[in-house]
């Protein structure tokens, strides 16, 4: 098998994100569906107002969380497929040279969808077990009659089956697209193949400065991934912290926990890719006698500005999204607080982000230090 089950284990980040997305969506959509069945039984005005508020909150939370997390999963899946093809270019190139078609090879990438299936199934299962407590929490004021948890097979199908199949199909389609390049493009390492086109005016810059620029220039996928992870961190953390004004305290804590877990996972995965993608360059520099700080500044430091740009975009995005969502969905609900930009949350998130970024980078630098130079270069 070209892509084995063990390759999907590396996609644990996608499983976690998919799991969280389905967990949140299951809670709110299940609740909304069960609540809708007893709409006719709600007779009080306060009960009706609460009904509308909760349905709207459910819609906002499910769509914002589910949408963001689904988008994150898609980007991560595409990144993993691309990374897999880039790092296994020689093996895949040999298969193509032997006569296997791109589609025939790409078909094996369906297993990448398994990570989504596992995440979604676990997320759905966890949410289903939590539903009775969640219903109690939502109906703490006893404004509605007792809400019973019902199983909605269609919802399960759309939250577990459909994402798994869609992500498998997406992985196959994207792999097929990437494998359309000529056999030589696969056999030669990707960066070797690409490098020959660029012809730039080379100014008389010191090597380290030039390396920092070219590392960022030639590894656009990694730059994108770092920017994207910073974007996710910024948007998820700020959004989850802002939820405290829009939902109950317990829900806010839960959303914040999910937001933080996801944000850290995305950041961790992107930085691990950065370090892994540059390990050989660092090893070569170390062999020649460049110090760790020189290597770090030149090879890893170039991504930092993009991380900050991602953070700013994430801040603007989450503010705009919540402002619009709250404006539209809560337009008819009385006494909803106006949603405004929270500088305190932004500052706290920024500090958290810098800490997380530097800690992960530092951890990986330590790991590189411990790798024997010989083994890195032999890979």
């Amino acid at each position: 098998m070209i892509v084995g089950m063990k390759d999907t284990v590396k996609l644990v980040g996608i499983s976690v994100i998919a799991g969280c997305a389905v967990f949140v969506c299951t809670l709110f959509l299940h609740y909304n569906m069960d609540l809708a069945t007893m709409k006719g039984e709600i007779t009080t005005r306060a009960g009706m107002a609460m009904y509308q508020a909760q349905v709207s909150t459910g819609k906002v939370t499910a769509s914002v969380s589910g949408g963001c997390l689904a988008a994150t999963s898609v980007v991560m899946l595409l990144f993993y497929v691309k990374n897999y093809i880039d790092s296994h270019g020689r093996e895949l190139g040999i298969l193509k040279a032997l006569g296997y078609s791109g589609l025939k090879i790409a078909r094996h990438f369906w297993v990448f969808g398994l990570s989504v299936f596992v995440g979604c199934a676990l997320g759905y299962g966890a949410a289903f077990f939590y539903l009775p407590s969640f219903y109690e929490l939502q109906n703490a004021g006893h404004l509605f009659p007792e809400i019973k948890v019902r199983f909605h097979p269609l919802l399960a199908f759309f939250l577990v089956g459909v994402p798994a199949v869609s992500f498998s199909a997406l992985a196959v389609a994207y792999a097929c697209l990437r494998l359309r390049c000529p056999v030589l493009g696969l056999l030669k390492e990707k960066h070797e193949y690409k490098a020959k086109i660029r012809r730039r005016e080379t100014k008389d810059k010191p090597f380290l400065e030039d390396l920092a620029e070219s590392t960022v220039r030639e590894r656009k996928t990694l730059v994108f991934f770092v920017t994207f992870s910073a974007f996710c961190f910024s948007a998820m953390v700020q959004m989850s912290m802002s939820m405290k004004d829009l939902s109950s305290k317990t829900m806010a804590v839960m959303m914040m926990a999910i937001g933080l877990i996801l944000a850290f996972i995305t950041l961790f995965l992107s930085l691990s890719s950065v370090v892994k993608g540059n390990t050989k360059t660092i090893a070569m520099m170390r062999v020649f006698g460049y110090s760790y700080s020189d290597c770090g500044k030149a090879v890893l430091g170039g991504y930092r500005p993009f991380a900050y740009i991602g953070f700013v975009i994430g801040t603007v995005y989450q503010y705009a999204l919540l402002k619009i969502a709250v404006g539209i969905l809560f337009a008819d609900v009385d006494n909803m607080p106006e949603y405004g930009f929270d500088f305190k949350i932004c500052a706290v998130t920024f500090v958290l982000f810098i800490l997380a970024y530097e800690v992960v980078m530092c951890g990986y630098s330590q790991r590189i230090k411990r790798l024997p130079l010989k083994s890195v270069m032999m890979e």
Partner: protein, 230 residues
Amino acid sequence: MISISDIVKSYGNFGNKNQVLKGISLQIADGDFVVILGASGSGKSTFLNVISGLERPDSGSVVYGTSDITKLTDEKLTKFRKDNIGFIFQQYYLLPNMTVEKNVRMGADLTGNREFKEMITAVGLEDKTGKYPSELSGGEQQRVSVARALAKKPKVLFLDEPTGALDEQTGRQVLDYICRLHKEYGFTIVMVTHNQNIAEMANTVVKMNSGKIAAVYANEKQKTAYEIGW
């Protein structure tokens, strides 16, 4: 002078330990051209890695002048390599996203060598300075790695099978460049190879077998890269 005493190096863990170097001792004089000859698995590359400071031995010492590099901290060892050592590998290990000039500059900047372009000319690549490694032949890439290693003006140049991936003509050409630069700059060369013919170019030949030195001898007359067989 490099004094190597009783080097032992093993790989693997407790139950499955494989001793690759079994107590090797050797003296290498300044400016010498030493070839370490041996079959695959004889331990010659590990020996080169240990004496160049890329790997630490389990025991023994590697003394350059008065400095035992096996006792140096990682940072000091890096500085030692920066100031003294040059490397040329079979797989070149050029930075793929940097031009020829920038790859050579990687070595030159370490010692502040502003005349690094001379080294590019010396290996005959003056018309390819703006090319990327993927645009060069194997021989040209190896010549870039020669220029890169020598641009930092090393006192000792370590070569691990430098012609292993090259055809005969290109291999001779690369060796010829190395020999000419050796004569001009006078650095010490320690080269690992399995090719017996290349050993005829060296002053000193060290034959290794199963992690031990089987023989050390000096060549009365050194042949050039174009005089040896292939």
